[in-house]
Assembly symmetry: C2
Homo-oligomer: 394 residues x 2
């Protein structure tokens, strides 16, 4: 068993890999890939101006912006005039949801979402509910969206349906095409939004064919930099941006374009697209190590949705509370999480697993392993060794 140091590395040649070689929290944040870092550095050191400036440095910046947008669109499967850069997943979700509801404000009061959404979807919707909207949450028991419940909830008053593409805790991939098909068949006026933060680069997305009107992305979940994301707004669909200013991103998202991070997003998206098959197979192998090595223990309960991103694996380890296990693993340089790390560390977890249908006794014992381009099956074996040594060998 290797023992990891907790001091930050200072060697730039290391690239974006975290020091710990047992980093299994890529769904919280994935180390920026060296390619992405270099793309950002090239902008930072290359004499680019404000993309809204009229001089040469500004025009150069604008051209670079176009190139990056193209790269992200190629991965997301949408047109370049349908993708707008934001500061990340949380802003993207709020922008889409509040922007859609504002644009539809005279058309109805019902909002529909799954009961497993990320806080950056659930919290804005709950506040809207407090302001007179009617929020219906659809069950996701077993990691499957209840489409019958959607049929029942969907009425003429419905203005928004928001269903995540991949759940950040269990990896469950919901059937967005089926949702779109129901909305179409019922001739619903509702705008269909998906939080695709854990999906981009992980499961195939062909936005233009999927039938969603709005989608949210975050770059640092696929090896880009933090602080950058994007929204997809289907051509012809209009939302009303909550924040206003200089009118950048076709008026949808004002503020000086974050060119270094946008260039890195483009590079990371291109990398994810070109390495798709390799990364997928690698993640499957990593995942299989955990399934093979831990299935035999009666204290281990996997939470396995029928359709899932292979980059996320959730289990309950019926030995100690999650937090105690997290700390013990962290002390050995192995970084995993108990659930969504995007929300405050202090908040009690478990609501997604409860929705999944996990017994109450398992909620406080959950561990989430999430994989990235840099995760190897060997690392998975080492983490399993640690889990056995610390928790499963009595």
């Amino acid at each position: 068993m290797r023992r990891k140091s907790c001091l930050p590395a200072s060697d730039p040649a290391k690239g974006g890999l975290p020091l710990s070689e047992l980093y299994f929290d890529n769904a919280a944040t994935m180390p920026s890939s060296p390619t992405a870092i270099n793309a950002a550095l090239e902008i930072l050191q290359g004499g680019y101006g404000n993309p809204s400036a009229a001089h040469g440095a500004g025009l150069r910046a604008e051209a670079r912006l176009r190139e990056a947008r193209k790269q992200v669109c190629a991965l997301a499967g949408c047109r370049e005039d349908e993708l707008f850069f934001t500061s990340g997943g949380t802003e993207s979700n709020n922008l889409c949801l509040l922007g859609a509801v504002e644009a539809m404000r005279h058309k109805g009061k019902r909002l529909i979402a799954s009961d497993s959404e990320h806080p950056s979807v659930l919290e804005p919707l709950k506040r809207l509910a407090n302001k007179g909207f009617e929020l219906v949450l659809l069950p996701t028991r077993g990691g499957v969206l209840d489409l019958k419940a959607l049929e029942e909830a969907l009425n003429e008053d419905t203005v928004l349906v928001s269903i995540q593409a991949v759940n950040s805790e269990t990896g469950a991939a919901y059937d967005l095409s089926a949702v779109a098909e129901i909305l179409r068949r019922r001739q619903s006026q509702a705008l269909f939004h998906t939080d695709a933060v854990q999906a981009l680069g992980k499961i195939p997305l062909q936005l233009s064919r999927l039938g969603v009107h709005l989608a949210s992305f975050s770059a640092h979940k696929l090896g880009g930099l933090p602080g950058i994301g994007a929204v997809y707004v289907q051509k012809g669909c209009r939302i009303s941006p909550p924040y206003l200013g200089g009118g950048q991103e076709n008026g949808l998202r004002s503020g000086t374009e974050n060119l270094p991070a946008i260039a890195a997003f483009g590079a990371a998206a291109e990398e994810a697209r070109l390495q798709w098959a390799y990364r997928l197979e690698n993640a499957q192998r990593v995942r299989q190590v955990f399934l093979d090595r831990l299935s035999g223990f009666e204290q281990v309960h996997f939470h396995l949705p029928p359709h899932a991103s292979v980059y996320i694996l959730n289990l309950s380890l019926q030995v100690l509370p999650s937090e105690v296990m997290l700390n013990a693993l962290s002390a050995k340089g192995a970084f995993v999480s108990a659930g969504s790390a995007c929300s405050s560390r202090k908040k009690s977890a478990g609501s997604v697993l409860r929705a999944f249908g996990a017994p109450a006794s398992q909620l406080d014992h959950a561990l989430r392993f999430s994989f990235g381009y840099q995760t190897t099956p060997q690392m998975a074996h080492e983490l399993c060794d640690l889990l056995v040594e610390l928790f499963l060998s009595r």
Copy 2:
């Protein structure tokens, strides 16, 4: 006269300086300082996690976040529990204005601002005006805020006063202390916000003593990275954040913290604080070159406020339209702007200069020169040579 290449540099040893040695558009975006870039790189390559994660990589990230916050607070003159990171100036302004109005929504309908605010202040206020609020704009003729007009406009119904600290086009520094004093004397309930994007690192700010409740900052205007900013919220003052999610930044600004850019913001702020006297004197010398060399020409009209940031200089050059001069200068590798470059390139400029009181005939001939830590008096001489050669030698 040097002729500049317009190709981006590829040599990382160059640091963040733009290729053109005649970059005079630092109010639009200032090249990231090498120190700031290195601070970001250290995070990107050093194995930091999501600051909200409970493991070692997360805790390390959280500690680094605290250090950067301290560095920015030292420059802004406020407490660490009063500063919250955002994605930039536009988000900061929208967050403060919409958040304040929402928090005060049962207390009144009048909003007061100067007539020279940045679009990221003016546009949100105009939309509120369309929704039933009453917006009063105070004159800033000659670059001086009309305090009598403030006295007249301020009534019991006033919930918000927003006055920028430094105007981005003329450099005019408005008297925020006098505004605060009037609000105090009149025992106004109004929240006082200042867009301090062009002020931080340029004019002395002691937020805790200034009497403002809310302030907005942007890192890339002082040598940090784009895509990061901050808001100051005075201890005890409550605003209601428009966007919700994981509850980061004490619930005020949800979303994974952009640690690389935050670390770079801290480094740039510390650099600005430590080099304060040197940078100020340097900018004064740069500014003086333009005043000395161009004052003699009858085609040149300086727009000089009585109190101003020395980092911005605005003049009208009564020879050709701004855009033609901009392009001619750009072709020679000299990058200046006609006004605020933060807003869309396409929008007609001139509203700030009109508010300043410049004659209509001068509005289409404005040039703004804005200076940064890397601007030298020698560069100012070279730009003056160019201006004379291109436009002033008939």
